[in-house]
């Protein structure tokens, strides 16, 4: 399961999707939007993806995980569009027979997603907005 979607992330659905009766461990990562960045209050956020490149890069991460850890059951959902504070922007769930692989694969997947998948986040403040990772910012006049 790989999805880039404007819909709210339903973690129950994602966890159910990877769980198997033959697997004893499920590691899950939820990335949620924070209300403060460097001391500034964030009002809401916006995520933008370059599709279909982002979909391709997510598939590559899944493929890499499967090859490195023989992990069959991995799900990634990345949300795009406008998000309120505290909502999940990303979920990665991995299920494996034993827990060490689940943790390693889940953490590695999250790292790779943040490095390689063309999805950008804009934080909206009371007095302006900033694309995160960019050296540029715009301020309401």
């Amino acid at each position: 399961m790989i999805e880039i979607t404007p819909d709210k992330i339903d973690h129950d659905r994602v966890i159910s999707c990877v769980r198997r009766d033959s697997n004893g461990a499920v590691a899950v990562f939820l990335g949620t939007t924070r209300n403060v960045t460097e001391g500034r209050k964030v009002l809401h956020l916006e995520y933008e993806a370059y599709r279909p490149m982002a979909d391709n890069k997510l598939s590559e991460v899944v493929l890499e995980i499967r090859q490195r850890w023989s992990v069959e059951n991995i799900a990634i959902v990345h949300r795009i569009g406008k998000l309120e504070i505290g909502e999940a922007s990303l979920i990665v769930a991995v299920s494996t027979p034993h827990r060490k692989d689940a943790f390693l694969a889940c953490q590695y997947a999250v790292d790779r997603i943040k490095e390689t998948v063309p999805i950008w986040k804009k934080e909206y403040f009371e007095d302006g907005e900033v694309w995160v990772g960019s050296e540029f910012s715009s301020t309401h006049s």
Binding site: L90, K114, P118, W120
Partner: protein
Amino acid sequence: MSCFSVRLFASYRDLVGKSTVLMEMPEGSSVSDLIIKLSGRYPLLTSAPGKLVIAVNYEYVDHTYCLTEGDEVALIPPVSGGSK
């Protein structure tokens, strides 16, 4: 001359004010050549042209990559999809 559409996202799009720019380049031009031409037209965008990350046809490429007519070129701003 060959024609390329260059896609801009996030901070780059906001800086330039549009999401696609069309660039005409001589045959056999590299990504590096394209960046030099882009920096002439949009100096703000390419304040650090050596570091620009480029994708061609949805794959990351390095600056020596040789462009072919019809390639979809994209400038990829720093990716930062969530918390560190």
